[in-house]
């Protein structure tokens, strides 16, 4: 069975500092990995995905994520945090042979203080 773990419920970072939101996955076969962001009372917005190729994936709003197969991790990063980055972030995985569903992690609330 596939699963995703986000070990931190909350991450607090000062504006301008780098941020990291952690994610580890467990899946048989090749994983397709995603990050989504959810703002209050809003839907899930796609940030970036890893399918194959370069381990460093760049996405929306200056975010990037690094795929590490040996550590089965897909941490989300940003060099310089903005207050507007404060939101709920979900890591997600699909198997390469999976027909449909995305399995989400439990979410990490990112709080950026001015």
């Amino acid at each position: 069975a596939q699963s995703v773990a986000q070990p931190e419920d909350q991450v607090n970072v000062a504006e301008g500092n780098p941020l990291t939101v952690k994610c580890t996955y467990s899946v048989s076969g090749n994983p397709y990995l995603f990050w989504y962001v959810q703002y209050p009372n809003r839907g899930l917005q796609f940030l970036l995905k890893y399918i194959t190729g370069d381990n460093l994936v760049k996405g929306s709003y200056g975010f990037e994520a690094e795929f590490n197969k040996s550590q089965t991790s897909f941490h989300l990063k940003k060099p310089s945090a903005l207050v507007s980055d404060s939101a709920l972030y979900f890591c997600a995985v699909r198997r390469d042979s999976s027909a449909s569903k995305i399995i989400f992690g439990s979410g990490t609330r990112l709080s950026i203080r001015p």
Binding site: Y32, L44, S97
Partner: protein
């Protein structure tokens, strides 16, 4: 660009009532997915459709049913509502089946269902 449209945005029902949630996918998207997100929970997959046929099924209660219509919009029908059905219900859409797992699922803003 057009996004996934869900209606209604908010819905209040009483126990044992029925509810119908609607989802209009991004134009040309042929696959829709339904997810349920309880308070403080991560989204849980319910069911999906590709070309009007059910393509996958998750933790959807027997009291719920869904279908995709010829114009690709989808409806989630919920009967005998229970207090525990109170949640945010998301619809997502994507394009194409041939490289399905690589396709990005784009989410709507959700329907917040409150069962009293």
């Amino acid at each position: 660009a057009a996004g996934v449209i869900q209606s209604p945005r908010h819905l209040i029902k009483e126990k044992r009532e029925t509810a119908t949630l609607k989802c209009y996918p991004i134009p040309r998207h042929d696959t829709v997915y339904w997810y349920q997100q309880g308070p403080g929970q991560d989204p849980q997959f319910l069911i999906s459709f590709y070309e009007k046929m059910q393509s996958d099924k998750g933790s959807i209660p027997d009291r719920f049913s869904a279908q995709q219509f010829s114009d690709y919009h989808s409806e989630l029908n919920m009967s005998s509502l229970e207090l525990g059905d109170s949640a945010l219900y998301f619809c997502a859409s994507s394009l194409g089946q041939e490289i399905l797992a690589k396709n990005i699922q784009y989410f709507g803003a959700g329907t917040r269902l409150s069962v009293l």
